[in-house]
Amino acid sequence: MGRNTHIPRLGVTNHIHLLRSGRGGMTQQELADRVGVSRQTVNAIEGGKYLPSLEVAFRIAMVFERRVDEVFLCAVIDDSSSIPKR
């Protein structure tokens, strides 16, 4: 292992808006109440402004009866970055 390791940067997106629509137009407030966070937090997660903790991610997936990786998707957005390893 060298001192500098190439770690690709990942972008995380989600299908929450789509899944809510598929649930008869579930509102953000309804989802927030079932997950145990504020509606603003659901809004921020949907908009990609906030990455939830694993616990909240699992709770969201459980509401939609899906696996976490069916709700949250990640893709390599930049594989040229070099992050020094300590």
Binding site: G25, T27, Q28, V37, S38, R39, Q40, T41, N43, S53
Partner: protein
């Protein structure tokens, strides 16, 4: 009827900031076709910031006038400080009461805690600088009243910066 109208008017006043901010950050206003209103925590931060700036600002205006007039008695400053603190507590209690009555009261969730933690981390240097300056002032034999007010000012400024950073994070993301 009148009280209902008052509540509607208060509600619209409290949400004016939210409406304006949604114009600048349109993506955050995508709540099911409507605008994104502020959370309880965000409104609470606005109230705290306004109360802090108003009450402590007033205190420092009075204190500076007293200091320039040669007042050096800690008791005189302490009395005014106590009055402003009580006024701030009353404003905070009334403001939170109104916000809780107009909307739902929510406990802070993980995002609120993260925002607060980051804001705290980014604003603590103001207090540290104030303390260092206070120590330097004591070493240079600066009047204790000035040192005390310098320390208090750094504490207030750190809190104001903390609240501003929280408000920015609520809107722009963590």
């Amino acid at each position: 009827m009148s009280s209902k109208l008052d509540m509607v008017a208060l509600s619209s006043i409290l949400d004016i900031g939210g409406e304006m901010r949604c114009r600048f950050f349109p993506r955050l206003g995508e709540e099911d076709g409507g605008t994104m209103s502020a959370s309880f925590q965000e409104k609470s931060t606005w109230i705290k910031l306004a109360a802090m700036v108003a009450c402590m600002g007033l205190y420092f205006v009075i204190a500076v006038q007293m200091l320039t007039n040669g007042v050096r008695d800690f008791g005189a400053f302490g009395l005014i400080f106590m009055q402003m603190t009580v006024l701030m507590v009353v404003v905070l209690a009334a403001g939170h009461g109104v916000v809780a009555a107009l909307g739902r009261q929510e406990a802070p969730d993980e995002r609120d805690r993260l925002i607060s933690c980051k804001a705290n981390h980014r604003s603590s240097w103001v207090l540290a600088v104030g303390v260092c300056c206070g120590l330097a002032g004591l070493a240079l034999s600066v009047d204790a009243v000035w040192v005390a007010h310098g320390l208090l000012l750094s504490l207030v400024l750190a809190e104001v910066l903390h609240d501003i950073l929280r408000l920015v994070s609520f809107r722009r993301g963590v």
